[in-house]
Symmetry: C2
DNA sequence: TTGAAAGCGCTAACAT
DNA sequence: ATGTTAGCGCTTTCAA
C-alpha cells in the first residue's frame, strides 16, 4: 500500500489540507509546521500521486507536442529533435512534463481536439509541419494555450516562434564583407524553401546596405543536394569576374560547393571564401572546415517553452516572435 | 462546464457504470444499450477526462522514456530519435502515451525513482546512454515494468532490446562474398565502439565460415572520422595484395574511405568494393552511392514498445532480445 | 494558521 | 444485463 497524504497528515499530526498546502507551498502555513510536515514526508518516503493531483487540480502540468514523426525524420530533420530537447529541458525546469505525439497534417486537428476534449494537457505545442487551417482554427477558437514551432504558412492568430533566417543571412553578409569580400555570390534552395529564401533576403539586404550589393547573376537556386551545390558553384566559377565568396544556404550545398571549388583547382579560402548555415557535425569535416552561422536551435525550443509558460499565465497574450540566437563559428573556409 | 459521464448517463437513461462499461468495452453490456450510449456520447460531444480515468483506474496508460538530451544530440545521434519515433507510433496504436524526460546517467536513477513514486507512468523505457547500476537496481528490485533501449554495458536482470550488429556484419560479409570479393578488409572504430566491434565480429565469423577469412592485417581501427577513414584506407591500399573490398563500420569512415580510394586513382567498385552500415541521407550522396546494411532503427522502437506491452501484461517476463530487422540496400559501390 | 469537508470524474466490486 | 455505491488521493473553499 503506497503512502498517501493521509499517512503524512497522521504522522505529522496535522490535517491533510495542511499537508497539501505544504506540498504546494501555500503561504499560510507556518514555517514550523511546514518543516515538520516535510520531515514526515521524507521519513515516510512520500511522493504525491501525480494522477490524483492532476485530477483534483483540474490541470495536468503537461504539454503535448504535436509533430510529424514520419520514417527517417530524425535523419532528415534533426533540427526538430534538437528543438524538442530544448522544449523538454525548459518544461521540466518549470515542473511541466512533455508528451510527444506523432501525427500528420491531416490528423493534427483531430489530435488536438482529442487532447483538449480529454484534458490530456494544459497546453499544446505543434511543429509547423503539421500546421493546418483546421488546427489553427481549433486552437484560436477554443482559446487553448498553444504555441507553434515555426511560422505558419498562412496568416492567422495563432501563437508561434520561429528562427529569424533573414537576420542570420545578414550576419553571414557582414562577416564576408568584414573579410574583404566584395563580389559575394549565393547558392540556395528553391523558392519554397523558406529558410533559404529568407537567408538570401538577409544577405541581399545587408550587402546592399554595406555598399557591395549581391549581383543578380551571382544568385543560383537549385535542389539542396551535393550535386546541385557543385553544379551551381561551377556555373559561378565560370563567370567573370568570378565571385570572391559563396554563401551556401545549407550544408548540402556547401559541401558540394567546396568540392567543386577544389576540383576546379582553386583554394578555399585563398581564392574564394565559403560559408554556410547550421553546424552539422558532418559538415565540420570538409576541407577546409566551414565557417557557419550557427543557429541555436535548442535555444529556440527553450524560448518556445518559456513563452508557452507566459501564455499559460496570460491566456490572452498573443505571441508571434522571431528568435535570433545565433553565433558565428569562424573556421578556415573564410579565414583570409 | 464540460460534459461528464453523468450527463451521458442521464442523456442515455442509464447509470454511470453502464456508460463506463461502454467506454471500456466491457463485455456485459448489450449491443442495443451500448449503441444508445455511444450515440449519446457523440451527440453530447463527450470525451472522458483523462486525468480522472488515470486516477480512478490507478494506471496512467503512459510510459516515460528516460534519455540523455544533451545539446546537439539530435545531430550526433539521430538514431535515438528515430527509435523514439517508432516507440511513439507503437505506443499510440496501443492507446498509450509517451512522455519524454531528459536526464543524464547520474540522475537517471533518481528520475526513475520519481516517476515510480509519483506513479507518473505505468512503465519506463530508458536509453542505454543513461543506464547505471543504480537504475538497473531500481527497476529490478521494484519489479517496475521497463525496457532498456540498447544492451547495458554490464550484466543485469533488466529487460532490454538491441540491434544485432554481429548479424549485420555477417550480412555485409555475405554480400561481398557473393560479389566475388575474396580479400575483404575492415575499417572500424576503436574497441569501445561496440557497434563497430560487433560488426567486425560478424564480418570476421561469416567470412571465416565462407572460407575467405578476414586477414588480421586487413583490419584497421581508428576514430570514426572522415580523416581516419581515409588514412586507414590509404594504409590498406598500400598493402600487397591490396584488398578487393572494404567494409566500413560507419558512414564517416566510409566517406573518408571512398575519398581516399578515388584520390589514389582507383575506381569504386571497379577496383574495390566499398560498403557500410546505416543509411544516412548524407552518405547516399557519395560518388558512387554506397551499398549499406540498413538497420531499421525505427522498427527497433516499435519492437521495444511491443515488448514493453507484453511486459506490462506479464510482469515477471524477462525480455532480453536482439532485433534483426535489416535490409541490404544495394547501390553502386559494390556493383561488380 | 489550521482543519473539516465537499468535491474532482471515473472505475470496479458487488448487488440486483 | 444493468445499477448502486464506495472509493481513488488530492485540492480547495469555507469555517474556525
Amino acid at each position: 500500500m503506497p503512502i498517501t497524504i493521509k499517512d503524512v497528515a497522521r504522522g505529522a499530526g496535522v490535517s491533510v489540507s495542511t499537508v497539501s498546502k505544504v506540498i504546494n507551498g501555500h503561504y499560510s502555513i507556518s514555517e514550523a509546521t511546514a518543516a515538520r510536515v516535510r520531515e514526515t514526508m521524507r521519513a515516510l518516503g512520500y511522493s504525491p500521486n501525480a494522477s490524483a493531483q492532476s485530477f483534483a487540480r483540474g490541470a495536468t502540468r503537461r504539454v503535448v507536442l504535436l509533430t510529424d514523426l514520419y520514417r527517417n525524420i530524425a535523419f532528415e530533420n534533426p533540427h526538430m529533435f534538437e528543438i524538442i530537447a530544448g522544449v523538454e529541458e525548459a518544461l521540466r525546469r518549470r515542473g511541466y512534463t512533455l508528451e510527444l505525439r506523432g501525427t500528420d497534417k491531416t490528423d493534427a486537428g483531430e489530435a488536438a481536439r482529442d487532447v483538449i476534449a480529454r484534458r490530456g494537457a494544459d497546453a499544446i505545442m505543434a511543429h509547423v509541419s503539421v500546421m493546418s487551417h483546421e488546427l489553427a482554427a481549433m486552437l484560436t477558437e477554443r482559446r487553448f494555450p498553444h504555441i507553434i514551432l515555426g511560422v505558419p504558412g498562412f496568416t492567422s492568430q495563432v501563437c508561434w516562434v520561429d528562427i529569424n533566417h533573414v537576420y542570420a543571412g545578414a550576419l553571414a553578409a557582414e562577416h564576408l564583407y568584414g573579410r574583404g569580400c566584395r563580389r559575394a555570390a549565393f547558392i540556395g534552395g528553391r523558392d519554397y524553401d523558406l529558410s533559404s529564401t529568407n537567408r538570401l533576403e538577409g544577405v541581399r539586404r545587408r550587402l546592399e546596405e554595406l555598399g557591395a550589393p549581391l549581383a543578380e547573376n551571382r544568385i543560383w537556386l537549385g535542389d539542396s543536394t551535393l550535386d546541385d551545390g557543385a553544379r551551381m558553384t561551377r556555373r559561378l566559377l565560370a563567370q567573370s569576374p568570378a565571385p570572391d565568396a559563396i554563401v551556401c544556404a545549407n550544408n548540402y550545398l556547401a559541401i558540394g560547393c567546396v568540392t567543386a571549388v577544389r576540383e576546379a583547382g582553386l583554394e578555399v579560402p585563398g581564392d574564394l571564401a565559403v560559408m554556410t548555415f547550421d553546424d552539422y557535425p558532418f559538415s565540420q569535416q570538409t576541407t577546409p572546415p566551414l565557417t557557419t552561422v550557427n543557429i541555436d536551435v535548442r535555444d529556440m525550443g527553450v524560448q518556445a517553452a518559456e513563452l508557452l509558460m507566459t501564455v499559460l499565465r496570460h491566456p490572452n497574450k498573443q505571441v508571434q516572435t522571431y528568435i535570433t540566437t545565433f553565433n558565428l563559428i569562424e573556421r578556415e573556409s573564410t579565414a583570409r
